[in-house]
Every structure is written in structure tokens, then in C-alpha cells.
């Protein structure tokens, strides 16, 4: 079984985001990491691979720097590394089309990804790819199992959680999973360095990146909050509670 895992490289969640000339300044990002929810998807993919003897394909869309993340994925067990080079694509629907074409090209039986990326925070990619390839999609899952030719997964419900079964080709978008991404061992790291990365262009995938009706005007720092009122000592609690009622009107 071919298991495709869609990965995105993002500024590490500890990294400071600076803006220059109306844009997030990528050059100033101190550390790039695999998006945290994608890590859960990758770990689930590795477990699925071990349980089924499948082949794990790690796919990413992005600039040259994202290849490092694919090598990291290989170090923990990804078998095939696929890089779709793009620079500055603005519209997520373009990325969805590229990823959908790639998972079809590798004849994937199941596609795993994070519920949303830590940079754009959208959550469109998993369901969007599912729509394009005619697959089912379950979002916010914490684990995926395969038995008797069917996938089952756990997702939140209104009253707790529910175990659901999915028919046929499926996309699973991960929330925090039941296990953290494993650490690579030395052998894994050494082998990963030699693992080739397959580069597939949008032309190779037959995806025309038409101009988009979506324009990014600017990116900016979040609005500054006016400085708050600070009190020293617990004896001010009563006073603050009254302010919450009379000034803020929230209790």
C-alpha cells in the first residue's frame, strides 16, 4: 500500500515572526521545522507502514529549503521523497492541485496530513485534496488503523469521541495524535543523507498554475494592544474584579 504524507515546512513555533516591507520576512526566521500537526501525520504514517508493509511517500510543495525537511522524514523512515518546487504561490488551491496530482501519480491508497499548517493556519489542504481526488476525508483525527481492507480512525464528536470507518480512498487530517514523532537514530540519519529527492515540477504534474483571483495586499504585525493596568499584590484582586464588571463589562 502506498501511504502519502503531505508535509509543510514552517517557521518553528518558537520563532519570532518579523515583518519587513509589508511582508513576513522569511530570511529572518531563525529555525524552520516540520509543521507540528504534520509530525503527527508522519508518525501515524510510519506506524501504518509498519503494520501493513506499505511504502511511505513524503511529499512537500515549497522552495529549495523544504528539501531538508524531506531528508528529516527519511531519517525516521519515509521511503520516497517528493519535492514539488514552488516559489511564492499565494493561493492554497494551487497547492492543493499540485499535491492532488502528486498523490495520484504515486497511486496512493491513503493520504495523511496535519489538520492545519502552523503558518497559514488554514486547514484547507486535506479536505481540498480529498475533493480533487474524489476521496473521503476525516479531519481532527488522532490515529488511523487499517484492517480487513478498511481504514478506521478516531475523531472528536459533540459528546466525546467517535470511531469512524471510511470506505475507499481516504485523506486523514491529524490533530494532536496519540504518539509523538519518533526520533531518528544515527543509522537513519546517515541513510537519509543518501536518499534521493525526486523533484517534480508543476508542468510534470500537468497542473497549470493560472493566475488567481486572490491577491495578498500586505502582511503586518498584529495590532498593538494598549498597555494594561498592572497591580502588585493579591490585595488588588477585589478592585480588579470590579473593573472587569464596570470598565470591561465582561462579568
Amino acid at each position: 500500500m502506498n501511504i502519502s504524507v503531505l508535509l509543510k515546512q514552517v517557521p518553528d513555533t518558537t520563532a519570532k515572526i518579523s515583518i519587513s516591507n509589508g511582508k513576513v520576512d522569511e530570511d529572518s526566521v531563525s529555525k524552520w521545522s516540520m509543521s507540528p500537526y504534520d509530525e503527527y501525520a508522519l508518525e501515524a504514517g510510519l506506524q501504518l507502514k509498519e503494520a501493513t508493509g506499505g511504502n511511505l511517500i513524503a511529499i512537500t510543495c515549497g522552495p529549495e529549503r523544504t528539501k531538508k525537511m524531506l531528508t528529516d522524514a527519511a531519517a525516521v523512515g519515509a521511503d520516497t521523497l517528493v519535492h514539488i518546487p514552488i516559489e511564492g504561490v499565494k493561493d492554497n488551491t494551487h497547492v492543493q492541485k499540485l499535491l492532488a496530482a502528486a498523490v495520484e501519480r504515486f497511486d496512493s491508497s491513503v493520504i495523511l496530513c496535519g489538520k492545519q499548517a502552523a503558518d497559514t493556519n488554514g486547514g484547507s489542504t486535506g479536505p481540498g485534496v480529498a475533493e480533487l481526488i474524489g476521496a473521503a476525508c476525516v479531519t481532527l483525527v488522532s490515529e488511523v488503523n487499517f484492517s480487513d481492507g478498511k481504514f478506521t480512525t478516531i475523531r472528536p464528536s459533540n459528546s466525546g469521541i467517535e470511531k469512524v470507518m471510511v470506505d475507499g480512498l481516504s485523506v486523514f487530517a491529524f490533530d494532536k495524535g496519540s504518539s509523538e514523532l519518533r526520533r531518528p537514530n544515527v543509522r537513519g540519519i546517515m541513510m537519509a543523507k543518501k536518499k534521493p529527492i525526486e523533484s517534480i515540477s508543476s508542468d510534470d504534474l500537468g497542473v497549470a498554475l493560472d493566475s488567481s483571483s486572490l491577491i495578498i495586499n500586505s502582511q503586518s504585525p498584529p495590532p498593538e494592544k494598549p498597555a494594561g493596568q498592572k497591580f502588585e499584590g493579591a490585595e488588588h484582586v477585589g478592585e480588579v474584579v470590579l473593573k472587569l464588571r464596570n470598565e470591561a463589562n465582561v462579568i
Binding site: 486572490l214 498584529p222 498592572k230 497591580f231 462579568i251
Partner: protein, 306 residues
Amino acid sequence: MDFTVIAEANGDSLHPTTYQLIGAAASMGSNPTVICPNGTGAEEAATINGVEKVISVNGDCFNIFDGGAWASSLSSLCGDIILISASPNGREIGSRIAAKKDIPVIQDVTSMTEGITVSRPIYSGKAMESLTVTGSAVITLRPNSFEAALAENNAPINVVDQSADVKISIQEAINKASERLDVTEADIIISGGRGMGTIENFSHLEEIADTIGAAVGASRAVVDEWGMPHRMQVGQTGKTVTPSLYIAVGISGAIQHLAGMRSSKYILAINKDPDAPIFGVADYGIVASWEDAIPSLKSALSELQS
């Protein structure tokens, strides 16, 4: 541009965000069509100001949440600009409708003006992005970011039957005996961090939460280290919340935590470290240990309630 609102249900009635979606459409000078999946809340939707008509969509496909099935039954009923709540289900349906129609989807929008120009937080609120869309689009709106429309209307309701191929089936429902409010639904949240000392001390926060009808949240540190449920986690890898009041107790304010709660309307921080970064985003800060502050907070709040 004609606007379509896809209603969000809460049990048998409309979720409050539906009023905000309609309010947002109305603020753009539009009289939206409101689509009610499974007919839920259709009569209620017809009473909301600004609504041109309600489409009550019935079908077996709504018995379970399958975003693919929902999108395929709703998509053909939608107009140019489709507004949905940026809830998990809303985002999923929105992405699938956008992919189906080959139009852009813009998630988690917090403001919208003519153009159509919208802005949305990115990097979990560490930055904002302004976008303009010149054609059709799906736009999901962050709950509690738009003025709710009032209800003094009497719009017509059309009933439509739809069917769709459902690919997901429920094997087992596991109920969690949590009577606590979910942090994403609560109007007031009281969260604890490592400064609470031990997991047992969260009972003090729970007592306060019960007094004022708040949800209890937690920082990543205590979720990871003390094994609190992930659904309580507020922050970049947990929930993003926008309550009217967020009370942070013993939370220093790591950048990832701030990302998840900084757009709360009011923030009260209680921390014994006067230099804790949480004070940088707090409207009200009290420098004190939780042991000193919580008893007074409890009594002051119960006094207000009585």
C-alpha cells in the same frame, strides 16, 4: 456579488455564529441566502434581519458529518461569496466547496470590507494578512469577530431535498463524561499553567469556572507534563480562543500560548513573576502567586454573582 451563508447548527437550533455570518453579509450591503443543512434552524434563520431567503436542505447525507457529502449536497445551492463559520466542520465544508467550484478559500477571517478585502491572523496571530478577492470565493469567519444580526425578520423558506454519497460510518461513539464547557465555545476561560504547581490545584480553577460559567483551559506545559487533556490546551498547537474574558493563572506566556489567546477581548493575568511576558498582552495584571490571589478571586466573583 450575492452572498450565501451556510448556517452552523448547535443541536436543534442555530449556533450564535450563524447570526454573525448573516451580520457580516449584511454589513457588506448584501441580503444573503441562508442554507440550513438538514433543515436545522431554518425557521429561526428566517427571523434574522437581512436574510433574503432560507434554503432548508434535507437529506439522509446529513445524518453523519461527512464533509465530502455535505459539500456535494450544498455546493450547487451556493452563490458567489459563500460565508461559513471557521469552525472545524465549517472549514472542512468550505475547503471542499472551494475545491469543487475551483475558487479560492480564505479561512479564519476576522474583518471584511468592500472590495472584497479581508484580513485574517496568520502564524497563529503573530501576524495579520490582508487579502483581496476579485471573484467568487469561500470565506470562513472566525467566531465572535463580527457583529451579530438581530432577529425581527420573516424571510421565506424553500425546502430542497438533496442526496450525496456518504463514505464515513460511525463504528462506535465514546462519550466523555465531561460536563465542562469547551474552551472554543466559552465566553469566559480560566486557564492554568505550570505556576499552578500540581494538577490537583486545577480544582481551584474549576471551582471558579463553575461560579461564573467559564471553561477551564491549560498551557501546553501542563498538558504535556501533567497529562491534562489536549482539548483544554490553548495555544499554537492547541485551541485558538476568542472569549470575552481570558483569565491566565500561573502562565508565563510563551509565544505559542500568546498566539492562541491574544485576540481575547479582555485578558486578566495573575502571575508571581512581574516580568512574565503574559503581562505584555494583559488588560489587567495582578502580580501575585495563585495561592494568594485565587481565594480572593473566588470570593469576589461569588459576591458579584449573588
